[in-house]
């Protein structure tokens, strides 16, 4: 499970959600096109920007990144917009960083993406 903040929330505003299809296009000499879908369904991604986190919340996210070994591991993620549980998600990147500009003033960004199952 993706960790929640102390408030119980997963994300903060501004929150970004991405829907991704994968369409192949073949363009012919006369300008016409033939399109077909590469993916059987849409894939979701969530960009989680977090600000004013305390050190414990940052440590929890850090441990989550370590235990997942970056984008290698998979986990379930609950979409905070509609409560849908996506059982097979991963971190999008192999990098996790944060800036601590003072006590309880941590800032970080993570992107969670749905895997094709």
């Amino acid at each position: 499970m993706f960790p929640t903040l102390k408030t119980g929330a997963v994300m903060q505003y501004p929150a970004k959600r991405t829907l991704r299809f994968n369409t192949d296009t073949i363009r012919f000499l006369d300008g016409t096109e033939q399109r077909f879908r590469d993916n059987p369904s849409v894939l979701h991604a969530w960009t989680i920007r977090l600000d004013l986190l305390d050190e414990a919340e940052l440590a929890t996210l850090d441990q989550f990144f370590i235990s997942n070994q970056g984008r290698f591991g998979s986990f379930s993620f609950t979409d905070p917009w509609d409560g849908t549980v996506y059982p097979n998600c991963s971190l999008e990147g192999d990098t996790f960083g944060f800036q601590l500009s003072g006590e309880m003033r941590g800032k970080t960004t993570l992107t969670v993406c749905e895997n094709r199952t």
Partner: protein, 261 residues
């Protein structure tokens, strides 16, 4: 032992601090977005960007001396993460990194002060004082602060162990967070932290934390990775210092810890 120096205040760093972890995953992606992934845990990197303002001549001299001794990015040194708990497995005292004396009994799964069930009950049924400790590969001469959540019913006494020092603290029935801080007159390359229980006493503990500073900050949970990095290096071969006046220096530097070098 080469190690990154503390400031004269005993602080390990100044805000802002930036830390980044980089993992390596080999991904084979098909046209239909199916992925096969392989982890490469040995290739992980941890990086810090540190900013220092208003350094004194002494503080700058210590930093410069380290930079010259390690010859820029050539040689590794020990770096104690200023924003992390130096102990590994802070919530699993039954892991091998914790050295519990044989007669000490540990019971896991108790409710903890943060709302979980990660506290331990530690009992000493013997007639001697028994210890639970973890040793870190950090220089014993630095300032350290050991802290933990603890409670006991009935109220009892616990010893906080910090190297050769031991401080007695009275534990009440409610969760409190006693700490022991200070600097040792020792040149050892390792130092142990933990608790000691008087004969017949029982206490609940949670969230043992050690930081290379003079007081305790918010508790940070750790697993297999603690905040001691023995293969840290300066990222660059240059160290630029700005001097604003007598004993008023500032600089920024990047440190990387790469295990595979």
């Amino acid at each position: 032992m080469l190690y990154f120096p503390q400031l004269s205040s005993g602080a390990a760093g100044q805000f802002p601090v930036t830390r980044q972890r980089v993992a390596r995953t080999v991904v084979n992606q098909s046209c239909q977005s199916y992925e096969t992934k392989l982890a490469d845990p040995g290739a992980s990197i941890t990086e810090w960007h540190l900013s220092f303002e208003e350094l004194t001549d002494q503080e700058l001299a210590a930093l410069e001396a380290l930079f010259q001794t390690v010859e820029g990015r050539l040689t590794p040194f020990t770096f104690l993460d200023p924003v992390d708990n130096l102990l590994a497995w802070s919530e699993q005292q039954d892991q091998a990194v914790w050295q519990a004396e044989p007669l000490l009994t540990l019971t896991s799964g108790l409710s903890d002060p943060l709302g979980g069930t990660n506290a331990y009950r530690v009992s000493n049924p013997s007639a001697a004082t028994l210890m639970l400790q973890q040793t870190i590969n950090g220089p014993a001469s630095l300032d350290y602060c050991l802290s933990l959540y603890s409670r006991s019913d009935p109220s009892t006494r616990v010893w906080l162990l910090r190297g050769s020092e031991s401080d007695a603290r009275t534990i009440s029935t409610a969760w409190t967070r006693p700490y022991s801080a200070g600097q040792l007159q020792s040149t050892a390359d390792t130092i142990s932290f933990g608790i000691a229980l008087d004969p017949g006493s029982t206490i609940d503990i949670f969230g043992i934390q050690v930081e290379a500073q003079t007081t305790a900050s918010l508790y940070k949970r750790t697993a297999e990775v603690g905040g001691v990095y023995q293969n840290a290096r300066f990222r660059d071969d240059t160290l630029t210092i700005t001097t604003l006046g007598p004993s008023r220096h500032s600089c920024e530097l990047d440190i990387v810890n790469v295990e595979y070098i």
